[in-house]
Amino acid sequence: MKKPFFLWRHLNKLRWLTLILVFGMLVLLPFLHVYQTYIAAHAYDLLTPDEKALYDTMEHLTAPFVSDPETQLDAIKGTTWSGTFGKLQLSDPLAVLGQMAASLSAYWPFLLTALIPVVATLLFGRFFCGWICPATLIYELNSSLSALLHKLGIQTGIRRFDRRLKYLVLALGIVISAITGSVIFAAIYPPAILGREIYYAIALSGFGAGMVFFIITLLFDLLVSRRGFCRYLCPGGALYSLLGHFRLFRIQRIVENCNDCAKCSAVCEFGLDPLHDQFGQECNNCTACIAVCPVDAMTFVVRPSDTPPQGPGHQGKRYRREHVASNEGDMT
């Protein structure tokens, strides 16, 4: 019996950790920025007690890492939409695509900032959606709330749409960006919205227009269609799905171990069907199906395409009835 590498089933925990870490950074960075401005103003004595508390907390947090916070903290800035880590700048490929469409030109330094994310997407597929996107953390918790409602007998969010809709959103977004001359994706792309709205709320005057849009998507997910925005409408998800079509690292079902319990298909946030080997380009390698599998029938493989459908699992009732039972009959 083939055994998957034992760490794969723990990747889902690691994924939650990275999601929380990314989200935590998005909350921490605005506070650090405010702290930096207090230092720059050289006016600790003039701060209100609340501001002093913030100053002292941030000082405690950063003191082990930086000696000159006013300038050294400039090393980490931004959100997942576009961020700076020291000399390295990383941008969302969708931001680059949107800018190219809006300005009808390409700015090379900016194109280069999307190089690492694009290469990573070519290798790991739509991993951004499951592992990094700050909106995913909220959406998955929202999805859990929806599951809780189901347990209480409230059936919400059970509609399904066509997954190809998001490619249309991507194409329309490019066209509208070109017509209006502005990067329209920034207005409808949840991670970009969430990143900047958290900053607005902490460092500026409060949540802005984007938060209204984000809450509408949350309600849509909760009441109409589970994970509906990510599955059917997200232009970023569409772009990464296209880039990740020939991803090298993908999940595969080990048919010999599988007992057809269908937990993998039930747990899949993107509504895919791992039980029937239907991962496709939209799998985000979130590894929830690996973690949930009771018989170690899910593993990672390195190959540029999914395996063709392998039929019922060999530990399942149907397979055993059709194959094993008759074989045993022949033997006797």
Binding site: T37, K77, G78, S82, A95, S103, G181, Y199
Partner: protein, 193 residues
């Protein structure tokens, strides 16, 4: 059946998109605002800026704010400065951090600033200005980072704006008159040479 559903949903999304396209042509705000130093001309700026917010996050003066929907959808999440509330201290960090090229990096030297930055130009209202109305003030002159290049005062502290003014807004911020006697007229056609 699945195909028919797809076409139905396709029609719904197209309708929503065309509606939002109409909303984009919304009216512009009447508010007078500046773009950060080194920003591209206005139409290029909204096309190139991705709204990542790093310029505001690195600004040590916290003078950079962001548009919501009040200036139309094309300006959504783009940075602006209201000089009366907080002027730009010309640290030029925003141009260094901007990944998209909407704010160009400019060296922090007097030559580079006066030749490349063009946020706007200060205008003095002599009917409001204390120094021009028989008292002496001179606060704007003292606030200016480019004294005697961008602004000079004659006797009795009467301010006169000169061609090197780049519109940082520190004079407008500092003006003790209410309403302010010195204002920045934004340069919507600002060019980078």
């Amino acid at each position: 059946m699945q195909r028919r559903n797809f076409i139905k949903q396709l029609a719904a999304v197209s309708a929503a998109a065309s509606l939002s396209g109409g909303a984009i042509a919304a009216s512009r705000t009447q508010r007078r605002f500046l773009r950060p130093p080194g920003a591209l001309p206005e139409t290029d700026f909204t096309a190139v800026c991705i709204g990542c917010g790093q310029c505001g996050e690195i600004c040590p003066n916290r003078c950079i704010r962001y548009f919501g929907m009040e200036n139309g959808l094309t300006s959504l999440a783009t940075p602006y400065i209201i000089p009366r509330e907080k002027g730009c201290i010309l640290c030029m960090k925003c141009g260094q951090v901007c990944p998209s090229g909407a704010i160009q990096p400019i060296e922090r030297s007097v030559e580079a600033l006066t030749s490349k930055v063009s946020m706007g130009r200060a205008v003095v209202d002599r009917h409001l200005c204390l120094s021009w109305q028989g008292k002496t003030c001179g606060v704007c002159y003292r606030a200016c980072p480019l004294q005697d290049l961008a602004i000079r005062v004659q006797r009795l502290e009467q301010p006169i704006i000169m061609d090197a003014c780049i519109g940082c807004g520190l004079c407008e911020r500092s003006c003790i008159q209410m309403p302010q006697a010195i204002r920045i007229l934004p340069d919507q056609e600002r060019t980078l040479t």
